[in-house]
């Protein structure tokens, strides 16, 4: 972990509207510490208002509550006093230090990146406000303290509200080192704070990107070439134009859009179009082709992600050898809010309304299409109705701007669900080849893991792809939790033709943890040992990981008898800076149907900011992973995505949702990420539970119930 505390710089100055402006620089990975540029702002107004410009966007993960808690804690204000603003696009100011300075909300990084600098910002602001009040009273600052938005001088009982001293505070020199609170004095951090965004989300007033209505806005929906890389050949729009409410048909190289008064007319118009496509080079592509190419790739050696000892030699002399191949499918994000973006392209400027995880990239995408300079593109960021990585991409912005260029006035481009699923950018397909050797006692003495698949990093953040490797693809496979004497991990980047890939909740570990934790289970079975005990014996060097595994097993009643057809499976991991173990209890019916009945999670994510958010994220990520394990699969036939809506791309529903118990380990370590760990952990736990219940090892996701059918 980068030392975050060393590099922040703070400065105060007079805010435009009077009062104290405190800006602080998050420690960029790519920026020198001497770059004194601020990158997030706390404003204390003379009216006492406290406004935080949020460098991270809310998409359900609770960041709009947890991030303000960090500031409010040190600033000594109630959470209810903090108001939030979306950060404008500005990579230099709001770049995420843990994502190489890209202004991005993703990778479960927000709390890790903000933990020190945001508290420091609150602490410095408080110190300045206290100093200003002390000066006015002509007393020592040390004799004063801050509480609930006021400075108090206990000996005389005098009080001044923050707003009353904000202007004075702005003129004071900034103290260099303001000590942060001892965690034992935390009043807010660690307590279950209510979500600040919840009230607007239960009464219909929350505004997502899809809800914006600039004056005069029209609604467009679109159809893009059903085969990736195909082109529009011809379109007969006679019938579409006759639909009441349809205003215009927009033709692009690989897309047709219908602009209308409302989405109902736009969809009706779209259905009435007669379109011919030139399918292009991928017209025959099928998923099996992609899988075969990846499988072939793993027959040859690849760039070495990790090499300990001599795994090949150790395998040769091992008492027992275990070999397996694994596969995981392409997956769609299927966020509840379908892709959408509203754009107004005027002669010399452009305005964009969208919910995005990458505000600066969204702005740049609009600038690129229009040819306008960045400062002529105004971007309004909005609440996101589910991100899961989909809103780390700006293809939807590019597309909307292309359409808006041909439309007078603002146009809201809304994708149908079918378009959203069939033109997603997908979690990559991966193929894995593993072999391991066990000694006479069953202990693993050799571990070989080679896998092939798309590198999202290589496209999304090219400097992160080096020597054929990227840190995301190998997380959870290389440098994993287990202490093994001989280990070799190789990754081969193979980009599938004709299908775009992108980050998906729990990113690289969504693949690696499934494979590693399944294969570890295979080794335990080969050694005829208990899966929990087998893992514990390999976790001596990672005590926090060992502790969560022990706790999860205990809380789950590991080892207790279960009825026939029901099994328990376990997984354990340390990814995104958090340690998580899960035990899944799974029932396999005679017809092969799998039901996850209960999930027990034990998490050590370091210091907890908002324990209710930690629970909520484990619950959420677990359900997300169960959907993937049971149903998640995007397949191609004739270059076309075969799934189109929630009937063919199924996700878990309420009647299928298990009881999820979350046990949080008290910890004084720096906070880890929480948005994603539950998704990677649950998939192997389910597969391992199926093995426990049926003796069948599923090495390919999603679960194929046909393989689990028992004779009647």
């Amino acid at each position: 972990m980068t030392d975050l505390s060393r590099r922040h710089l703070l400065r105060a100055g007079a805010a435009a509207g009077g009062g104290l402006l405190l800006s602080f620089s998050l420690p960029f990975g790519s920026q020198a510490a001497t770059a004194f540029a601020p990158n997030a702002y706390v404003r204390v107004g003379e009216d006492g208002s406290i406004v935080l410009t949020m460098p991270y966007v809310e998409m359900g993960q609770g960041t709009y509550t947890a991030i303000p808690m960090l500031i409010a804690e040190e600033l000594e204000v109630g959470l209810g006093q903090v108001k939030l603003e979306h950060a404008p696009p500005d990579e230099k100011t709001y770049g995420n230090p843990l994502l190489a300075g890209v202004q991005a909300t993703g990778g479960s990084t927000a709390i890790m990146a903000s933990w020190q600098p945001l508290r420091q910002a609150g602490a410095v602001a408080r110190a300045l406000l206290v100093a200003a009040a002390a000066k006015r009273w002509n007393v020592e600052p040390a004799a004063c303290r801050a509480e609930k938005g006021e400075v108090v001088h206990p000996p005389t009982g005098r009080r001044l509200k923050y707003g009353a001293v904000a202007a004075d505070a702005a003129r004071l020199p900034v103290p260099k080192d303001v000590p942060l609170k001892d965690p034992k004095d935390f009043k807010l951090i660690g307590t279950p704070a209510k979500r600040l965004d919840a009230p607007a989300k239960v009464n219909g007033t929350a505004v997502y990107g899809i809800d914006v209505r600039p004056r005069g806005v029209t609604i467009a929906t679109l159809t893009q070439s059903p085969v990736f890389g195909g082109k529009l050949k011809s379109v007969d729009d006679t019938a579409a134009k006759a639909v009441k409410g349809v205003r215009q048909i927009v033709r692009l190289d690989d897309c047709v859009a219908v602009v209308a008064d409302h989405m109902g007319a736009a969809k009706k118009g779209l259905a009435a179009l007669k379109i011919e496509w030139d399918d292009g080079p991928h017209a025959r592509l099928a998923t099996a082709d992609v899988a075969r190419e990846l499988e072939q790739a793993t027959l040859n050696a690849g760039p070495v992600a990790e090499n300990i000892g001599d795994a090949a030699k150790a395998l040769e002399s091992a008492a027992t050898k275990v070999e397996a191949t694994y596969q995981v499918p392409f997956l769609a994000h299927a966020t509840m809010e379908p892709m959408n973006c509203t754009v107004h392209v005027a002669k010399d400027h452009c305005e964009v309304w969208v919910g995005t995880q990458v505000a600066a990239r969204a702005q740049a995408a609009a600038a690129k299409v229009t040819g306008l300079p960045l400062e002529k593109v105004v971007l309004h960021n909005h609440l996101i109705g589910g991100g899961f990585g989909r809103r780390l991409e700006v293809d939807g912005v590019t597309r909307a701007v292309q359409i808006a260029q041909k439309v007078d006035g603002p146009v809201k481009v809304v994708w149908t669900r079918e378009e959203d699923i069939q033109h997603d950018m997908y979690r990559p397909y991966w193929f894995d080849r593993l072999s391991a050797g066990l000694d006479e006692t069953g202990k693993p003495v050799a571990w070989n893991h080679r896998f092939a698949g798309s590198s999202v990093i290589a496209r999304w953040l090219p400097p992160g792809f080096n020597n054929g490797l990227d840190p995301d693809s190998i997380e959870g496979a290389a440098k994993f939790i287990y202490g093994l004497p001989n280990k070799r991990v190789e990754y081969l980047r193979v980009e599938p033709p004709g299908i775009p890939t992108a980050f998906w909740r729990s990113v690289g570990p969504s693949h690696t943890i499934f494979v590693v934790e399944s294969f570890m289970d295979e080794l335990a079975a080969a050694a005829k040992q208990d899966p929990v005990a087998y893992r514990l014996a390999l976790l001596d060097k990672t005590p926090r990981t060992k502790a969560v595994l022990t706790l999860a097993a205990e809380k789950a009643g590991w080892g207790e008898a279960l009825p026939a057809g029901i099994g328990r499976g376990v997984s354990v991991q340390n990814v995104f800076g958090s340690h998580l173990a899960q035990v899944a209890e799974v029932e396999v019916a005679k017809d092969g149907t799998v039901r996850v009945r209960r999930v027990v999670a034990a998490i050590d994510c370091g210091i907890v900011i908002n324990p209710d958010t930690v629970r909520a994220q484990i619950e959420s990520a677990t359900i997300f992973g169960i959907s993937a394990a049971l149903y998640g699969e995007i397949t191609l036939k004739d270059g076309r995505v075969e799934q189109s809506n929630f009937d063919t791309y199924r996700v878990l529903r309420l009647d299928e949702a298990p009881k999820i118990e979350v046990h949080i380990v008290q910890s004084g370590d720096v906070p880890g990420g929480m948005g994603e760990p539950g998704t990677s952990a649950i998939v192997p736990a389910i597969a391992n539970a199926i093995f426990a219940a049926t003796g069948k090892r599923l090495r390919k996701m999603p679960i194929d119930s046909e393989l689990l059918k028992r004779p009647a």
Binding site: M59, G60, K194, R195, D197, A198, K201, V202, N203, G204, T205, A206, V207, Y208, I210, D211, R213, I219, V243, K244, G245, D261, H262, M263, G264, A265, K267, K268, A334, T335, M336, E337, P338, L383, G385, G386, G387, F388, V414, T416, R417, A616, E619, S620, A621, T622, I623, F624, N645, F646, D647, V651, L652, R653, L654, D655, E656, A657, K659, I660
Partner: protein, 158 residues
């Protein structure tokens, strides 16, 4: 042609094709964006409104089928006894995450409780399994419905 639609107690006249789904009349014609678009084929429940009190997927409900029915949306559900209880329970239980599906979830839950004040787990399964939540708030939804089904604490005078 023009249709007269009664929404949240107010009558609106809209000039759209009769097969236009109510969802788009609400969102795009009348600007009531609390009701959400999720799938367009009654698979996800994000667009749920009440038509004469019954939970209805507005994305597949043509305006010509309404025939003077009373529509209630998320914007006004707090004005009903069941809706107010559900909204409070949703906040008490911290149900929401991204929140996008929650208008529909709340409308489905409010219709359930208005018709069945003491739903069993199985009743909740039946009423709520048509509503997808990608944030996976299902456990909390179930608990919130159970909370909302509790009789309000009676203040005992003295």
């Amino acid at each position: 042609m023009a249709y007269s639609i009664k929404i949240n107690g107010k009558t609106h006249n809209v000039d759209v094709d009769g097969d236009t789904p109510l969802l788009w009349v609400l969102r795009d014609v009348l600007g009531m964006t609390g009701t959400k678009f999720g799938c367009g084929i009654a698979q996800c429940g994000a667009c749920t409104v009440h038509v004469d009190g019954a939970a209805t997927r507005s994305c597949v409900t043509p305006v010509e089928s309404l025939n003077g029915s009373a529509i209630t949306t998320i914007e006004a559900i707090g004005g009903t006894a069941a809706g107010a209880k559900v909204q409070k329970a949703w906040l008490d239980r911290e149900v929401v995450q991204c929140g996008y599906c929650q208008s529909g979830q709340i409308m489905a839950a409010a219709a359930l409780l208005a018709a069945n004040p003491k739903p069993t787990d199985s009743d909740i399964d039946d009423a709520m399994s048509g509503n997808i939540c990608r944030c996976g708030t299902y456990g909390r939804i179930r608990e919130a419905i159970k909370q909302a089904a509790q009789p309000a604490t009676q203040s005992k005078g003295g």
